[in-house]
């Protein structure tokens, strides 16, 4: 789109330049006592339809000649030149009205914002699931970039998410995903309504991930579990989530065991603040690395109790870790509580959460 506007404008400006050159040389040759500057001036005054009348094809004709040729040439310059002169203005006006320029400047602003992001999550598709995802990421103080094709939908979402960072484009297109900062992202979430589109995204991102061998998380939404799940897994999705299956199970437990999930559920719905069970990974240069839990003083510094942790990359969780438990870089700490406190814990752990 950008190149199309530029090509049009370039052509138009080229045409204007051509008319000015033809006019300047023409008037210079056909009229008496005209310098090149005078000829250029006459051309511009003519094509701009100003026509001061201080220089004309009539007053400056060569003595003895009828000046027909000069008049005909002026007619040509007027007819060809006026249209040419107005054309680029028309292009600019047209694109201003159609929003292309605005979109273009918006795109550049977004690209600048995206260039500064690291460890963000790319969400493909701003449907209802996508919105929930962005909402949760925002609440838990994580950055996200939305890819959506529809300008209308993006405008709608911009009202809901004040700091929405987005790429307007087709998420199945590699270029759009790259524009969303794939190389620095922590994860990508294909959540498009068409299952095949999600598969295409997983295929192309899975390839990139394999080549780079990094920790990018690919979590795809799936509707038809039986048909799509094996394909998605084979192509590189880390996890596949079928909202319908999860909600079906949830509905059954709401029916028969309504009290079981209450605590964690109520936690999510707490109206005083954002309460979550969250994790933080201890960075090598964190003050927590190499000290015991007692010395780390996490309850005093972050107002949280570490309910469980993963030590030395072991699969097994250490639940309710003892005060004598030593913390090492790479350990994952799990805590429950207010996001403000969780943020403090993450900061303490080294800021980087995986």
């Amino acid at each position: 789109m950008k190149s199309k506007i530029q090509a049009k404008l370039f052509n138009a400006i080229f045409a204007v330049a051509a008319i000015l050159i033809i006019g300047t040389f023409g008037f210079h040759g056909l009229l008496k006592d005209l310098t090149y500057i005078d000829a250029l001036y006459l051309t511009v005054v003519t094509v701009a339809t100003v026509g001061y009348g201080d220089l004309t094809a009539h007053t400056n004709r060569f003595p003895g000649s009828h000046g027909h040729l000069a008049k005909l040439f002026t007619i040509f310059i007027i007819v060809a030149g006026v249209a040419t002169f107005v054309y680029p203005l028309g292009i600019i006006a047209e694109h201003m009205i159609s929003g292309d320029l605005q979109r273009e400047s918006r795109r550049r602003r977004m690209q600048r914002l995206i260039a500064r992001l690291r460890g963000h999550f790319i969400i493909c598709g701003g449907g209802e699931t996508g919105v929930t995802i962005m909402d949760e990421l925002e609440k838990t103080q994580r950055k996200s970039v939305l890819i959506d094709m529809s300008t209308e939908r993006i405008n709608e979402l911009q009202e809901r998410f004040k700091n929405l960072i987005f790429v307007e484009g087709d998420a199945t297109d590699d270029q759009a995903i790259r524009a969303a900062g794939l190389s620095r992202a922590a994860g990508i979430i294909p959540a498009l309504p068409d299952e095949k589109d999600n598969l295409i995204i997983v295929v192309s991102v899975g390839q990139v991930k394999k080549e780079r061998g990094d920790t990018l998380r690919i979590v795809s939404k799936v509707i038809n579990m039986d048909r799509m799940a094996p394909k998605l897994r084979a192509t590189g999705a880390d996890t596949i989530i079928a909202p319908s299956t999860i909600s079906g199970r949830r509905m059954v437990s709401e029916m028969f065991r309504p009290s079981v999930t209450t605590f964690l559920d109520r936690m999510l719905k707490d109206s005083r603040g954002i309460m979550r069970t969250e994790e933080a990974t201890v960075a090598p240069d964190s003050p927590l690395a190499g000290v015991t839990l007692a010395d780390a003083k996490i309850p005093q510094k972050a107002g949280l109790v570490i309910v469980a942790m993963r030590h030395n990359g072991q699969q097994q969780f250490i639940c309710n870790p003892r005060a004598s438990q030593r913390l090492e870089a790479g350990d994952v700490l799990i805590a429950m509580g207010d996001m403000h406190n969780i943020a403090k814990l993450r900061e303490l752990a080294g800021g980087e959460e995986s």
Partner: protein, 254 residues
């Protein structure tokens, strides 16, 4: 198909993927109940009937998971609900593709059976969540919402997901969340968390506290917090540890 006279059963309205997940769970429950022998009373709600306006989708489903009770008809029609024995049902799942239909069915179900448990889905919890509750739904589940939340957890906090999974699915008996109400006569009453020595005496971790009459939990309560009668403490730990705390607390709470 002849509709058997059902009692204490559940009714599933709809056959979309969410309904299929429900039916599969119900079928698994039924099989498990049948395995426990003839003598044991079937748990309430393990018998179920599926209602959908499309006979085709029911047939397709039956091919996949085996035969089940069904009824072809529009459940927003009270007569169809009657044929599904709504009056004697334990619960109803409203999983219809049209939001208004779910409101309609919830309303009709509540009218015909005041004690029935109604669980519905909604695609738009902001618009329909309240409406469904007012219509009589006991629980409203939004696939978009819980699906989205789950996706974020998997993408951004995979360790938490694994942890909660272990806890909620009873994989690890040493790792469960329990809510325990403190009885008035308990030795824990009017002591601070520190003085109660719950971690030292039982090995449990106190993760939250709910004051009597309060709706919000207090997370990570400081050691100086004084426990009162009627407060509920939320602890994490093993079953045996919890049992010893329940004894201290005075009486058990689920």
């Amino acid at each position: 198909m002849k509709i058997p006279s059902l009692r204490n059963h559940t009714i599933v309205c709809g056959t979309d993927p969410t309904a299929v997940a429900i039916i599969e769970e119900l079928q698994a429950m039924k099989v498990k109940a049948a395995g426990q022998g003839e003598s044991a009373d079937a748990p309430p709600g393990s018998d179920y009937i599926v209602c959908d306006s499309s006979g085709d989708s029911i047939e397709k489903l039956a091919e996949r998971i085996g035969p089940f009770n069904y009824l072809v008809g529009d459940v927003t029609d009270d007569e169809v609900l009657g044929r599904a024995h709504i009056e004697s049902a334990f619960g109803i799942f409203c999983v219809l593709p049209i939001e208004k239909d779910n409101v309609c069915v919830a309303l009709a179900a509540r009218q015909k059976n005041p004690s029935i448990r109604i669980v519905t889905t909604t695609a738009d919890p902001f618009v329909y969540g309240q409406k469904l509750s007012r219509a009589g739904a006991n629980a409203v589940v939004s696939p978009n919402f819980i699906g989205g939340l789950r996706i974020v957890s998997e993408a951004a906090r995979p360790n938490v997901t694994a942890f909660l999974d272990e806890m909620l699915r009873d994989k690890n008996p040493d790792l469960q969340i329990h809510e325990i109400e403190i009885a008035a006569g308990s030795s824990l009453c009017n002591t601070s968390l520190m003085a109660s020595r719950i971690p030292a005496a039982t090995g449990l971790l106190v993760i939250a506290l709910l004051r009597k009459g309060d709706v919000h939990y207090m997370y990570n309560p400081p050691a100086s917090t004084v426990i009162g009668a009627g407060d509920t403490i939320v602890v994490m730990g093993g079953r045996q540890q919890v049992e010893s705390l329940t004894r201290l607390a005075g009486r058990a709470q689920a």
